[in-house]
Symmetry: C2
Subunit: 198 residues, 2 copies
Amino acid sequence: MKLYDLEVSGNCYKVRLFAALAQIELQLVPVDFSRNEHKSAAICSLNPWGQVPILQDDNLVLRDAQAILVYLAGRYGGEAWWPGEAHLQGQVMQWLSVAASEIQHGPNAARLVKKFGAQLDMQQAQARSEHILGLMDKHLAEQSWLAVGRPTIADCAVFPYVVLAWEGEVDISPYQHIQAWITRIKALPGFIGMPGVR
Amino acid sequence: MKLYDLEVSGNCYKVRLFAALAQIELQLVPVDFSRNEHKSAAICSLNPWGQVPILQDDNLVLRDAQAILVYLAGRYGGEAWWPGEAHLQGQVMQWLSVAASEIQHGPNAARLVKKFGAQLDMQQAQARSEHILGLMDKHLAEQSWLAVGRPTIADCAVFPYVVLAWEGEVDISPYQHIQAWITRIKALPGFIGMPGVR
């Protein structure tokens, strides 16, 4: 099973982190962004979005980190990470949407500006970051994990751009419950970091 | 089962549309945005985000349209709308992320600016809209539905802000495969519209 991967991408890290925690073996295929390889015909034939991560498992090709997490957990990770019951899936799914929306356009956008020089509205990215981090902190004041009382793919999807937020000059030090959650995630058996995860 | 609802919200319409197609009965509870009711203590106690839709089914409370779709389909809609197999879930999930990210920050953002006067970057919303609509159109050139060869919650999640794009002055007339897909969705048994769906 191949993961087309970029080491500094938080979206790729979502998948690498989950695979490490769930002991799923991935063959990493590095994609060279400095040479624009993600926009090459070969990559775009797998993912017309021209983005990584891309997962290839036999004939199945999936783009989007959240979709890859749902597949990997459902196929190889077991009920613990992505429960089968509808009311539990719904609760996990709330946070997959947060990862795809508020986190993507908040702390991730701020990091794209500050670390990679992206032309995005930094003020808006900062404001969105503060908004979602505040909501998360309140949520984590009352529970240890984002959903269903245990570590799930929800935590794997949200963790990367929160722990990397400092690279976008988003300060997470005021959020003590987020800090404690980060510590809990780092203590999970099999945890791996990436460049920028302190 | 209660849906806290705003008639002009495309996110609420995702849920109303799916419930109509899958013949799931919802009790609509209108939330009065003109009186800021979505920021009231009552609503925020259900959803700290202060947003609708919110679904309440006995003790379960869910926010986020995509999460509500996953729950409703998994619990009441049957395999057709949200398949149980991991590789099919992954394919549907790709489009739930598109709904939460590219559509939310593309055509939806443009509509928020033009219809409701939101302070968002219109140029960026337009550029994002063109990008995602172009990708969707190519995808729909080769298949009738967004995922797994049949109508699923993916179509219900993406349809509203695409068909309402004109309200954000995003022109979808150049995208003939999207047009044909809209026609197919409107022909589904049980289909319902909302204000602005032409």
